[in-house]
């Protein structure tokens, strides 16, 4: 074997292999968002699903982000056609209910779906404790850099995006983030 040639070939081949190996450790679907740390885009969206007392809002009401300043906001984008949204629905609904009376606001945003489908889905899933709003033209979704559902944004009391979760959230994650943001506000 010509060791000199093998060594020269390795000088070129090994870095390329290492680069490909590094690429294999990355999840191509896990695209980092540039938004955490930045001010959340304002919105004024209309309630179509009221939620349940004590978190209920009247259908047709407008919910503005500006009115939620001073509260931790959990903004969850979902759709009736989204299978993964089913995995997190109960967790979000129960967790939201457990924070009733505290400066925390859960809000569902319907993404590329009809309100009638959303309402039917909520009924099938046994209800939703917090209200959901429509997002015509997905303008708010695009403002939040959304590329699929479910995605959940955690906003601090100053209206800055603290964290973006891609995929179904767990109760542990939601509580950890909400509790951390409330503690940071004190």
């Amino acid at each position: 074997m010509n060791w000199k040639r093998a060594a020269i070939a390795s000088l070129f081949v090994v870095p390329v292999i290492l680069l490909f190996a590094y690429g294999l450790t990355k999840d191509p679907k896990d695209i980092p968002s540039p938004l955490p740390g930045h001010e959340a885009s304002p919105f004024a969206l209309t309630v179509f699903a009221p939620g349940q007392p004590p978190l209920a809002r009247t259908p047709g009401d407008t919910i503005r982000l500006s009115a939620l300043k001073g509260q931790v906001v959990v903004l969850n984008f979902w759709a009736s056609w989204c299978l993964s949204c089913r995995d997190e629905h109960q967790v979000l609904s129960e967790t939201a209910r457990s924070y009733a009376g505290q400066p925390v606001h859960f809000l569902g945003v319907l993404y590329n779906d009809e309100p009638a489908n959303g309402t039917q889905w909520i009924a099938q899933m046994g209800g939703q404790s917090y209200p959901s709003v429509t997002d015509p033209g997905a303008r708010t979704a695009i403002n939040y850099g959304l590329y699929g559902v479910p995605e959940t944004y955690f906003l601090d009391v100053n209206g800055r995006i603290a964290y973006k979760a891609t995929g179904p959230v767990t109760g542990g994650l939601v509580r950890h983030l909400v509790d951390s943001l409330m503690a940071a506000a004190k």
Binding site: S33, N112, A141, I142, G145, Y147, G148
Partner: protein, 130 residues
């Protein structure tokens, strides 16, 4: 009086046609810019080429921002601020992204070098190696 009506009719016709001309210019600018933005729910497609609903909605945002007077650079900066550099189909040639541009060229040059050495060896007269 006939001349007046004719003049008014021509002016009305011109007014109706002008928006169409500026719309097609806006359409062309929207298409050109949309071709540079990645569809977030596709594999390697631009929002111009993708039929997905999100792509259609992003094209509408591009169109609205261009109509409002924003430059293509400003519109791209808006999408980068929301999605990161990843949203550009051609990443900026800086930092780690430089590897994407440099590596193919480097590999081609190395390949040509290997071919040149191999061809020289194969075309060497048989008794030269003895």
């Amino acid at each position: 009086m006939t001349h007046l009506f004719a003049a008014l009719a021509l002016a009305a016709l011109a007014a109706v046609q002008q928006p169409a001309a500026s719309d097609s210019a806006l359409d062309a600018r929207t298409a050109a810019l949309s071709a540079q933005l990645r569809c977030p729910v596709c594999q390697g497609l631009s929002i111009q080429d993708s039929p997905s609903e999100l792509s259609l909605q992003m094209r509408a945002v591009v169109r609205d921002q261009l109509r409002a007077g924003k430059t293509p650079a400003e519109v791209k900066a808006y999408f980068v601020s929301k999605y990161g550099q990843w949203i550009l189909l051609e990443p900026k040639p800086q930092g780690f992204n430089l590897l994407v541009y440099a590596l193919p060229v480097l590999l081609v040059l190395v390949g040509l070098g290997v071919i040149a050495v191999a061809v020289r060896k194969w075309t060497r007269p048989a008794d030269a190696g003895a």
